[in-house]
Structures are given as C-alpha cells and as structure tokens.
C-alpha cells in the first residue's frame, strides 16, 4: 500500500467539537469550584508537620549565601546621617532614669570618687537647703498678701535663661 495520507473529515470535526466543548465547559467547572471551601479543609499544620524542616535547613548553605552578600555595598547605600537625624536623642535620654542608673551601677561610685570632696558635699547641702528656704519664703511671703496663685504665672527666670511659661486663658 502506498504511504499517502488521507485526511479524515469526520475526525477533524470531532476534534473541533471537543475543543469548543472544552472551552465552554472548563470555565464553568472552574467557576463552580469553591476554592475557599477547599482551602478550609486543608490542614496546613499537618502539611507543615510532614515537612522535614531540619533536612531543608541542612541543605541550605548559609555560608555561601552570606559570602555572596556584598555587605560593604549595602552599608554604602545606607544613609547613616539620615538615620541619626531621625533619632530623637532627647526622647531617649528623657526615658533614662538617671537616678536609678547612678544608684544601681558603678557609675555612682565613679561620680562620687571623681567629683565629691568634703567641700563639695557641704556646698551641695547648703545650696539645696538654701533653695528650699528660698521657695518657702517666696511662697508664704506672697500667700500672706493674697498673691499665692498669681505668682505661679510669673516668670521663673530671665528670658535668655528660662523659657517663658505657657499662659493659660
């Protein structure tokens, strides 16, 4: 028999029909599937339990990954100055309990050793007591003449040294 191939018109039509049927049916099937319902039935924990994480990690060559990273290039791209500018140093310092720090660390004894002499200690006490008595005289002196509340709004110091008090309406 000769090898001449003869086209089968019936076969071609069936193929076309199957193709067009598939194009219409598949979207209908996909649309009808509730993916969420299926996912709800999937027990992720069970799947994760079956994964041998250690084996996966063992296969990862961390040294190679780290070696491939060009740290210097990354550091060069970081704008340290910009980061520093965004850090509120004052807020950080305000959060520090200096008293507790001094009380519970060696810092206290260092300060004491470096700055405290007998004279300094005497002066500290004298000055502190003086400030206490100053306030006492100031408050009671003005309270006696009925200015107890008004003096609270008065400036605490010269404008170049102390920020003015916020005035209340």
């Amino acid at each position: 028999m000769s090898g001449r191939r003869v086209s089968n018109p019936i076969g071609t039509r069936v193929e076309q029909l199957a193709q067009s049927l598939a194009e219409r049916i598949v979207p209908l099937i996909v649309d009808s599937i509730d993916i969420d319902a299926i996912l709800d039935k999937v027990d992720i924990n069970k799947i994760v339990e079956r994964v041998d994480i250690e084996a996966v990690v063992e296969r990862v060559d961390i040294d190679k990954i780290v070696g491939d990273i060009d740290i210097e290039k990354i550091v060069e791209r970081i704008d340290i100055q910009k980061i520093i500018e965004r850090v509120d140093i004052n807020a950080i310092v305000d959060e520090i309990d200096i008293d507790a720090l001094v009380e519970h660390t060696e810092l206290g004894s260092i300060i004491a050793r470096s700055t405290t002499g007998v004279v300094t200690e005497i002066l500290d006490v004298i000055r502190a007591q003086g400030v206490g008595l100053d306030d006492f005289i100031w408050r009671w002196g003005n309270r006696l003449i009925g200015r107890g509340r008004r003096i609270r709004r008065w400036p605490e110091g010269p404008p170049l040294l102390v920020a003015p008090k916020a005035t209340t309406p």
Binding site: I98, D99, V102, E103, L107, G108, S109, I110, I111, A112, T115, T116, V118, T120, E121, I122, L123, D124, V125, I126, R127, A128, Q129, G130, V131, G132, L133, D134, D135, F136, I137, W138, R139, G141, N142, I145, W154, P155, E156, G157, P158, P159, L160, L161, V162
Partner: protein
Amino acid sequence: MTTTVPMPAPEMTVGRQGHYAGAVSRLVAFAVDVGASWGLYTLGVELLNVAIRLFSGHNFTLTNHQLAGFITLTLWLFFYFTYQWSVSGKTLGMAIFGIQVVTKQGASIRTTQAARRTIGLAITLFLTLGIGFIGIVYQKERRALDDLIAGTAVVYDWDARAARLRWIARKDGPATHSGGSQPS
C-alpha cells in the same frame, strides 16, 4: 563624710539653674560677703600698718585716722563687689551659695552695671535701711532695689542635677534620700 541633712526633693532643686534666686540664698551670701570683705579689709589694714612701721619707723594705725579709714573702707568695698561682679557675675558669698548676677534678660553683666549695682547696694542698705531688699520676695522678677538700679537680676547657677547625682552616689546617700525636707 556622712551627710545627715536630707536634700530637698529633686523637683525643688534639679533644673533650677537660671531661675531667679530667692531671699535666703541671696541674703546669706551677702552676709558671707560682708564677713569676707571685712576680714580682708582688716587683714589689709594690719599689713599696711606693719609695712609702714617697718619702712618708716613710725607707729601708724589707719583706724586712728577716721576719715582716711572711712574712705579706704568705702573704696575697698566698692572694689570688692564691683570687681567680682564684673569678672564673673558673682562674689565669694554668691559662689558659695551658687547664685549669680545677670542682666535683666539673663546675659553677663558689664562693668558699669557692676559699679551701678554696688552703688545701688549701698543705697538699699543705708538710704532705705534694707527695705529695698523686699523686692526679692515681692517683686515679679525677685529684684531688689539695687537690681532695679543696675538693670540686673540674680539667678541660681549651680548644677543641682550634678549635685543630686553626687548625693545619690555617696555610699550612704540612698538611705537618706526619701523625699527630703519638703517645705509646705
């Protein structure tokens, strides 16, 4: 050294640098200055007497010459206060009590202001018999008459925060700093 006197509560002292100084600190500092200036004057006069006696052989005593003694004392007191205020804004007594003379705005004072303040101090003491000091308690900026004359004010300038840290750091400090002597 053991400090038995408790410090006032930190809110009373810490952060007071630059605030107007009160009556007790100022008047006690002034008393210290009166004592110091008088002591130095007496010492100076004695040295002068000895020097004159050594070099001239005459027995000279300044206190026997009342007018000369008065003028010398006046000039000495003027120099004592004016020089110290113009150099650092504080006298010996003020340095001990941690207070300083500044301008009304809070800047360092000039020599002319220091001189005016010294003259103002004499007026406050001798012409008003001390009544001019009442402004320290009743004036808005706690300025006495001598401050008003010189355009100055007196502020605390000691570092109370450092003092408090020193106080806490002392070996026996934490045991005694439970609130301090809080005036009512």
